[in-house]
């Protein structure tokens, strides 16, 4: 009983992540690579690695932007790294904010970069919260058989339906602190 309720929660969480553009198709690729045995295994591992990596990069960026003279090449290199790893795990919003960040790097705009880092950090924290919830729930849900492939099919459908709805009434906000 409890497992079914949790499974519903997990489904709802994942479908909202897709629907809001927090994650994209690449995240689905990760789910497809999950063990058939149903252990959290791969997705948990790669998501955790990504989060640790992103955390580290964001700290480095904060430190670089605090310097009296900012080394924009180094900043750009880090942002490029983060953009790459976020693309690899399907962290779409983080990826987009990284792209914005890179443009500001090109213009060597310190204030702009600081703002961009804030955006990146916010998106990353939001995503990380959801990942953490997901990973906490998954072990319980996966005690029984859990077909990720069927599930992602459902998510994709919902995602598409919501996309169609959104065309009728777009309502995107970028959060600022």
């Amino acid at each position: 009983m409890a497992a079914a309720a949790l499974r519903e929660q997990l489904n709802a969480l994942l479908s909202s992540m897709y629907a809001s553009g927090l994650v994209d198709d690449q995240f689905q690729q990760l789910q497809m690579l999950q063990d058939d045995g149903g252990t959290p295994g791969f997705v948990a591992e790669v998501v955790t690695l990504f989060c640790d990596d992103a955390d580290r990069i964001i700290s480095e960026l904060a430190a670089l932007l605090e310097q009296p003279v900012v080394d924009f090449d180094k900043v750009d290199a880090y942002v490029h790294q983060l953009k790459g790893s976020s693309a690899s795990v399907g962290a779409q919003k983080v990826k987009f904010t990284c792209m914005q960040f890179r443009e500001l790097c090109q213009h060597k705009n310190r204030d702009g970069c600081i703002m961009a880092l804030t955006l990146v950090r916010n998106e990353f924290y939001d995503l990380r919260n959801k990942f953490q919830t997901m990973l906490q729930v998954v072990p319980y849900v996966l005690k029984g058989p859990f077909d990720f492939q069927v599930f992602t099919g459902i998510v994709k459908m919902e995602h598409m339906l919501l996309k169609l709805k959104r065309i009728a009434c777009p309502c995107f906000l970028l959060k600022f602190v």
Binding site: Q26, Q29, L30, M32, L33, F42, E45, V46, L49, F50, D52, D53, A77, H80, Q81, K83, G84, S85, A87, S88, V89, G90
Partner: protein
């Protein structure tokens, strides 16, 4: 032992400085039935390749070395382009400059779709260029390159008469399977470029 070469899975060496990316490529490859070794830099890749492909092995260790080489022979290298220190392009060049390594197919991955970059890599001898993020469907493009390079090796071994005579002599490191690539690469370096015109792509630079 030597005869089972065709049944051992192909071994791919994956090079990427990003940890999440390494995990992903490793999983993609394992899911596609490849054996995988991952390293985080071009220099570590070369180190790994030298240990497992260096044809100048001491004769006394030959028998063990033979078996060892067969077990970890690298059949394909897949590398990220943007890496600190040695880029994927630099690594590609070093591989193509090495007589023992140049026949290993190389695939470059990059998150940036820059045609001049792609062309440069292909001209330097890369067999394929993947745009990141890499997906499961990309994995099916790898085996053809491995098989193609094995055909070349096999063709090389057949066209070179020595190999059959020396099959009883372990020091020539020739086994009946076409899998033992170190000796054939050595022979190849001795200049049979005419026999296989496509073997070395535009080495003119």
């Amino acid at each position: 032992m030597a005869a089972v070469a065709t049944e051992t899975p192909f071994h791919v060496l994956a090079v990427d400085d990003s940890l999440p990316d390494r995990k992903l490529i490793e999983r993609l490859l394992k899911t596609s039935s490849f054996q995988v070794t991952t390293v985080d830099s071009g220099s570590k890749a070369l180190e790994f390749l030298r240990i497992h492909h260096d044809s100048s092995t001491p004769i006394s260790l030959q028998e063990d070395q033979l078996i060892y080489n067969q077990e970890v022979a690298v059949n394909l290298i897949i590398t990220d382009y943007c890496m600190p220190g040695m880029t994927g392009y630099d690594l590609l060049k070093k591989i193509k400059e090495s007589s023992s390594l140049r026949d290993i197919p190389v695939v470059i991955m990059s998150s940036e779709n820059i045609p001049s970059r792609i062309n440069r890599c292909l001209e330097e001898g890369a067999d394929e260029f993947f745009l990141k993020p890499v997906r499961l469907s990309d994995m099916s493009k790898l085996k053809p390159h491995i098989l193609k390079s094995r055909c070349k090796e096999h063709y090389n071994q057949q066209s070179d008469g020595n190999i059959d005579e020396s099959s009883s002599n372990p020091t020539n490191s020739s086994s009946s399977s076409s899998d033992n690539s170190s000796s054939s690469r050595k022979r190849k370096a001795e200049g049979d470029a005419e026999i296989l015109p496509k073997a070395n792509r535009s080495r003119h630079s």
